[in-house]
Symmetry: C2
Subunit: 482 residues, 2 copies
C-alpha cells in the first residue's frame, strides 16, 4: 500500500467516532452471510436475521402502494401522457404525481432543487405539521434532508466550535448522536433514563447534569430528546414534555427533538405530541425557544429507509443563523428529489374519499398492528427468559432488554478485550445467526448490560427466533455460571 | 427570537465557509424570481436565466428515457407483474429493472443498503470502470454517494486534523473544495492555472507551491485535480496527467481526481483519460499511489442532479484506513437507492443490439452535440464583446470569461463593500435577469475578474441572452469608463 495516508495520521476525531449500529457485530454478520453463500451448511444456521437496525423493508415489509405509484410516475413523467396507465395506477396517484410535477419548475425531478428542498413540497409538509399540531408551520422553516441523519450533522456543524461545547443526550441514546458529536469534536453531556421506571427522565437530574457540565467549563448548547425512545422504546408523557421544554427555554438550550418514530405507537394509554405542539400550547413561540424537530421517511409504517428522505423544522433562530444553516445545506446542493417527494407524501397521505384511501388504510393498519403484536410477543418472550428483563416497548421499533451477565462471562470478555455485551452479541450471532446491537453502543448505566433488538422480524419467524435466542442464552449462562 | 444560539456564537468555521454557486448572487436571483411571480412586469425582464449552476434539467434538458424507465420500474416493482407494461416500457428497461431488483435482497429498494451501496450495483460500476480504462476495478473500492459532493466531504473529514493540514487545489477551483476545506478547518494550498495558456498547469510551479506550504508548517495531504476543469473547461493533456500522477506519487499526496465531467468533451483533438488509467499505464498500482476518483450522475449527457447519485473509487489505502472510511459512510447509513441505481446505469448504459440502444444513442448524441454548439456559440460571443476575453471550453459545462473591469467600477464596488466581480454580476442580474457566478467564488489571479457562466441555456435562447449580455456590458463599461 502507498504510504502517505495511514491510520496513524488521519483525523483522530474519525478514529474516536463509534457507530455501533454498523459496528463490529454488524460487520461480522456480513462476513458470515458471505460464508453462507459460498459454503452453505458450514454454519449452525441457514440465515442471518438482522435485528440490529431499524430497516423494515429488508425483512419483508412491503412499501405503501400509493407512495410507490406516485414515485414511479414522477420518475418517468412521460407515462402521464399514456392511456394505459389508467389500468396500472390509481386515479389519485396519477393526480398527485401531476400536482407534484406542477410544483417543480419544468417538471424536472432531475434538477437540483432549492437547497432546502422543493418549495411546493415544503408547503405540503408545513400544512401537514400544522394539521397534526393545531399550530401554524412555515415552509421556510423546513429543510428537506437525505433522511434525518444529515439534519443532525448540520446542527452539530452549526453548534460545535470545539470540545468545550457540549450537547445533552439521553443515555441510552441512538448512536448517531454520539457518533456525530465525536466527528464534530464536541462533548456528550449525558442524562440518564431510568430503566426501573420504564426509561423515565427526571428534570432535577437533568439540571444536575447540566450544572456539572457547566462547572467543568462545558458550554451546553442543545439537548437531544428522542420520542418515542431509541433504543429504549418509551413514550414520554405530556408532563415530562412540558418540563423538558421549560428546561430548554430557561437554560437557553436548543431542543433537538428526534421525532422520527412519531407514527410508531403500540399502546393506547399514551399519545405522541410533537415538541412543537407542546411548546406552542405552553405559549412559547420562536421568541422563547430554539427548536429543531427531525422527521424521516425511514420509519413509521412506511419504512422507506433506502430512499433517504427526511426533514427538519427549525424555529426560533435569527435570520443570520438561518442563513448560515442555508449555506451548510447549499454546500451539498440539495437532498434527493425522490426522498423529498416521499417526505411530502408521508405528511399528506390519501384522505377519506380518495381512490387509494381504503388500500392505504389497510396497508398502514396491517403494518402497525403487526409491529404492535411483534413488540408484545418479543417483549414477553424476553421477560420469560431467566437472566433477562425487558421494559415495555411503547413505541419506535426496538426492545432494549437487560442481560444479567455472570461475572465469569464479564471476565472472559475482558480477557479477549471485548465489552461484555459485545462478547455476548458476537456469541449470539455465531451460534444463532441473530444480529443484535450491543448496549454499549448506546450507553448504559455502568455495570448493566443490554442489547438492542428490533421488533422487525416477520411474525412467522419470531417463535423460532425466540426459541433459538432462549436456547443460546441458557447455554451461555450455564457455561459462565458464577 | 430566542437568544441561546446567535450568529456570534456558532461554529466560526461555518461563518468562514463561502459557497459562491449558491451565494449572494443566486439568493438575490431567487428574490427577483419571487418578485416576477407576485408583481409581473415590475422588472426589466420576464424571466430569470440561471447560468450560475450546472443544472441542465432545470433549463429544459430531458432525461435519458431508458434511465427513467428503469427507475420507475424499480420504484414500483409490482408493475413488473403486469402485461400492460409491455406497451409502456422498452423490453431492455424491463429486463434491466428485473436484474437490478434481483441484486437487492428482497427486491427492497426501500431498505438501507450496505454502507458503500448495493453490492451488485458496485460490481456493475467496477465493470464499467474496467471497460473504460482497460485496467481492473473492484467493487470493494467503490463508495456510492449522494452525488459527488459527499465523497469530497468524506475525504476532507478523513484527512484534515487541523488548520496545519492542507489540500492543494487549482485556482480557479470549484467552490465545493474551498467550502469543504473551510468547514473542516483545513488550509487551501493553491496552485494556479495559467489563463494565457488555456488554463494549463506547470508541475514546476506546483512544486514551488508545495515547498512554500511546507515551509510554513503545512502538512499537504492531497491534491485536487478537476478534469475537465470547473470552472475553466480545459482538458488536461496526457503529458500533464502523467506529470501530476508522478508528482503525487513522489510527494506522497492523495490524488483527488474530480472526473464528474468525463463525458462532457467538445473538442476532437483531446480525449479524457481517467487518472486511474494514467496511473496504471505508468505501472503504478495501489502500492504507489493513493487515488480517489469522483464521478456523478449530475453531469455528462444525463444531468440527473436532483437524483443525487455518484460514487468514489478509492485505491491505495490500507485496510485500517478503509475501515475508517467505511465508518464515516456508515454514520449516514447509505446513499439513496435511486441515485445508486442511476450511478450503475450511467456506467452500464444500453449496448448495440438492445431495444433501447438507438433511442439512447440519439438522445445522448443530441444532448452532447447541442452542448458543444452552445459552448462554441457562447465562447465566440463573449470573445466578440469589447473588454471580455474567453478561453475555449474543451469540456465540462462552463465558460469562465475574463472581464476587464474599469478602475472606476472597481472603486465603486469597493465603496459598497462588494468584490468587483460580485458587483458586476449583481448589476448584470438586475439589468438582464441573467445569473452568473462571480469569479471570486472560485479564486482568480489578483487583479483579474471573471464570471462563470454555464453553457446550458437552451439553444433558441442563446442569441437573445448574448445580446442582452452584450448590451448590459457595453452600458456598464460606458458608465464606468476610466
Amino acid at each position: 500500500m502507498a504510504t502517505g495516508v495511514s491510520v496513524e495520521n488521519i483525523n483522530p476525531k474519525v478514529l474516536q467516532c463509534e457507530y455501533a449500529v454498523r459496528g463490529e457485530v454488524a460487520i461480522h454478520a456480513q462476513r458470515l452471510q458471505q460464508q453462507l453463500q459460498t459454503q452453505p451448511g458450514s454454519l449452525p444456521f441457514d440465515e442471518i436475521l438482522y435485528c440490529n437496525i431499524g430497516n423494515p423493508q429488508s425483512l419483508g415489509q412491503k412499501p405503501i402502494t400509493f407512495f410507490r405509484e406516485v414515485l414511479a410516475l414522477c420518475d418517468h413523467p412521460n407515462l402521464l401522457e399514456r392511456e394505459e396507465i389508467k389500468s396500472l395506477f390509481s386515479t389519485d396517484a396519477i393526480a398527485r404525481a401531476k400536482k407534484i410535477l406542477s410544483m417543480i419548475p419544468g417538471r424536472a425531478t432531475g434538477a437540483y432543487s432549492h437547497s432546502q428542498g422543493i418549495k411546493g413540497l415544503r408547503d405540503k409538509i408545513a400544512a401537514g405539521i400544522a394539521s397534526r399540531d393545531g399550530f401554524p408551520a412555515n415552509a421556510d422553516d423546513i429543510f428537506l434532508t437525505n433522511g434525518a441523519s444529515p439534519g443532525v450533522h448540520m446542527m452539530m456543524q452549526l453548534l460545535i466550535r470545539n470540545n468545550r461545547d457540549g450537547i445533552m443526550c439521553p443515555i441510552p441514546q441512538y448512536s448517531l448522536y454520539s457518533a456525530s458529536l465525536a466527528l464534530h469534536g464536541g462533548s456528550l453531556v449525558p442524562y440518564y433514563l431510568d430503566e426501573s421506571s420504564g426509561w423515565g427522565l427526571e428534570i432535577s437530574k437533568l439540571k444536575n447534569q447540566l450544572e456539572d457540565a457547566r462547572s467543568k467549563g462545558i458550554t451546553v448548547r442543545a439537548l437531544v430528546v428522542i420520542n418515542p425512545g431509541n433504543p429504549t422504546g418509551q413514550i414520554l408523557d405530556e408532563q415530562q414534555q412540558y418540563e423538558l421544554v421549560k428546561f430548554c427555554k430557561d437554560e437557553e438550550l436548543v431542543l433537538l427533538a428526534d421525532e422520527v418514530y412519531q407514527e410508531n405507537i403500540y399502546v393506547t394509554n399514551k399519545k405522541i405530541n410533537s415538541f412543537k405542539k407542546i411548546a406552542r400550547s405552553m405559549g412559547y413561540n420562536g421568541d422563547d425557544l430554539q427548536l429543531v424537530s427531525l422527521h424521516s421517511v425511514s420509519k413509521g409504517y412506511y419504512g422507506e429507509c433506502g430512499k433517504r428522505g427526511g426533514y427538519m423544522e427549525v424555529t426560533g433562530f435569527s435570520t443570520p443563523v438561518r442563513e448560515q444553516l442555508y449555506k451548510i445545506a447549499s454546500v451539498n446542493l440539495c437532498s434527493n428529489t425522490t426522498g423529498q417527494i416521499l417526505a411530502s407524501l408521508i405528511m399528506d397521505p390519501p384522505k377519506a374519499g380518495d381512490a387509494s384511501y381504503d388500500l392505504y388504510e389497510e396497508e398502514k393498519d396491517s403494518i402497525l398492528k403487526s409491529l404492535s403484536r411483534r413488540a408484545k410477543a418479543m417483549e414477553s418472550a424476553f421477560n420469560s427468559i431467566d437472566g433477562i428483563t425487558c421494559n415495555k416497548t411503547e413505541g419506535a421499533m426496538y426492545l432494549f432488554p437487560r442481560i444479567y451477565l455472570p461475572q465469569k462471562a464479564i471476565e472472559v470478555a475482558r480477557a479477549v478485550n471485548k465489552a461484555p455485551d459485545v462478547f455476548y452479541a458476537l456469541r449470539l450471532l455465531d451460534t444463532t445467526g441473530i444480529v443484535v446491537t450491543p448496549g454499549s453502543g448506546f450507553g448504559q448505566v455502568a455495570g448493566t448490560w443490554h442489547v438492542r433488538c428490533t421488533i422487525l422480524p416477520q411474525e412467522e419467524k419470531i417463535p423460532s427466533m425466540i426459541s433459538r435466542f432462549r436456547e443460546f442464552h441458557e447455554e451461555f449462562m450455564a457455561q459462565y455460571r458464577d
